[in-house]
């Protein structure tokens, strides 16, 4: 027996991890140099959440999957050209600022308001997915705040696995200290799951899925509502790159035995 789920994935866009980042100050606060021209990708842990959500929706026919994303419209469109080829979803774009420096509480308020207004969303079937932390702010609080605003009090963070039972209940594996998972059982939706890596590989690009998605993505982007984020009293005293540059000693002329002896001495040193 399958369960009909309404899965909403919250996912931001982040600079490609291979890009060099340099902070700059602007009238609206700190940002990244050339932020709008840096290549962007879907936030890695949120991407895991999207792939897990799609797999869960596919196993439970009749389920629906929304991807809610806040970012500059032009960047969202660029990222969706790739993401749309991975799995089927309905994009709910919000045209807003990019980056890790805006306040998480404001972001959560906009996301919660958007999710609450999704046409056809049944909150009793809602699984709210996202990454447990972003690769920008990395605070790990936005999803929780969205959940609280939607009155969802079954929340899980650092999730690597969900196993759904026929009766709608599910078991969740959450990362805890010491490389272990906490295993919890939940009566069922609604719930919030902040995903870590999960167990699924990144799906291969499927042009047919991409074409089907883009039919709804482009009109959605055209209609994206504009969001302005409040600072909520958050101010930046300084924003800088770390200065530590080490003097690296490059050793090219030692035998394995000599290297090993030096390493063992180093390992044993206090």
């Amino acid at each position: 027996m399958s369960n009909i789920l309404h899965i909403v994935v919250c996912a931001g866009i982040v600079p490609d991890p291979l890009q060099t980042l340099e902070p700059v100050s602007g009238p609206a606060g700190p940002g990244l140099k050339n932020e709008m021209v840096l290549p962007a990708v879907l936030d890695p842990w949120a991407a895991s959440a999207l792939y897990e959500a799609a797999a869960l929706a596919a196993k439970n026919p009749g389920s629906k999957l929304w991807l809610v994303s806040l970012g500059p419209k032009a960047k969202l469109q660029q990222v969706m050209m790739t993401v749309a080829q991975k799995v089927a979803f309905e994009l709910v774009p919000i045209d807003g600022p990019i980056g890790g420096f805006p306040d998480a509480h404001s972001t959560a308020a906009v996301l919660a308001e958007t999710i609450a207004a999704l046409p056809g969303l049944d909150k009793t079937k809602l699984l709210l997915f996202g990454g447990w932390e972003s690769a920008t702010r990395g605070a790990g609080v936005t999803l929780q705040l969205v959940g609280e605003r939607l009155s969802i009090t079954d929340q899980f963070q650092g999730v690597d696995q969900i196993s759904l039972s026929d009766d709608g209940s599910f078991e969740v594996l959450e990362r805890v200290e010491g490389g272990k998972h906490q295993v919890s059982g939940c009566a069922g939706a609604p719930a919030v799951l902040g995903w870590a890596t999960g167990n699924l590989a990144e799906p291969r690009n499927n042009p047919q899925v991409g074409m089907a998605n883009m039919r709804t993505i482009m009109p959605a982007l055209a209609k994206a509502k504009v969001a302005k984020l409040d600072a909520n009293g958050l101010s930046y005293v300084s924003v800088a790159l770390p200065k530590q540059q080490r003097e690296t000693r490059v050793v090219k002329d030692m035998t394995p035995d000599q290297i090993a002896a030096e390493l063992v001495e180093w390992i044993g040193a206090e």
Partner: protein, 342 residues
Amino acid sequence: MEKILVLTHADETGSALTKASLEAVSAGMDLAARLSTPLTIGIIAADSAKAASAVAATGARLLAVSGEAFAQALYASDAAAAEALQRAANATIVLAPGTSRFTRIMAGVAHRLGGFIDTHITALSGANSVEASRWFYRQRIEAIISRGVRPWFMLLDTGTHTAYAGAVGTAQVEQIAVELPALRTTVRGFRAPEQGQQTIRPDAKMLLVAGAGWTKKQPDGQIHAAEAGKLILGFLSATGASLGSSKSLVDQGGEGEPVLPFLTHMNQIGQTGSTPRHAKGLSTCCHGEEPHVVGWRFIGSRRAISLDPNCGWTRGKADVVYVADAFPVMAKVNALLEAGKS
């Protein structure tokens, strides 16, 4: 005037505060002393009287939520407990350890109380105000922030403060009653990674980083994944080190390439993994930016074994780079460590 609350919780015994909680107590005591303001400590534990004995000598007001319902880490019960403690303390600044138990709930608690939260705080500073340091973009950019609104919740990264270690004594604890909502979730237990041997040791002095080079073809044209696994596990066994991995090595499992069976995504360090804190780090067969820039951010002394003398990511990031094949070096290191033990 600021009022400071430090929220703490017990470990799996239910009657002793976690090390991370005691670190938060230290941070709270320092801040309270600097601001000349009173300190309150809130405790969530099955047996809070026992747990409170570790902080009896702080002189702080002690509040607690106690009982079996709070022995396990659940969002609904933990959030209700933390909310009740802050309502009783009515603090303007709330500090808490960044443990999995508190990172799960504290943003929700802040929202319920009309407050705001910042996480991964590594230091508290400021002359006449409170300022907090934290990293952005996965440990690539460091910022000092402040908040002009209260209550301000801050989750402190573990390992950034010294754990409080005052005299153990009998503490006067005010018990706070909590009305729990209907609980829909139960904790069933804990599970270690399926691959068996636990290789993630947050309290270890050393981190060994394994890169994808371990499962690439060696000079004889063959892949020696089994031997690589043996060498890595041998080193972990001899040193008690924790094991980190590059993303590329962990991902190989899903791509049908040779794998080290004891590695999981939980070992991954870097952009999509963890940024652990250890005194020393040794990277082996690793040629990427991620482990060296992001994953190593909080490693004290760093050395690398790499075949690439021009690896740009180790230059400026490691203290020493040995240009060598890690297989014979690590075999010899393990032999020397074993000989030293015997």
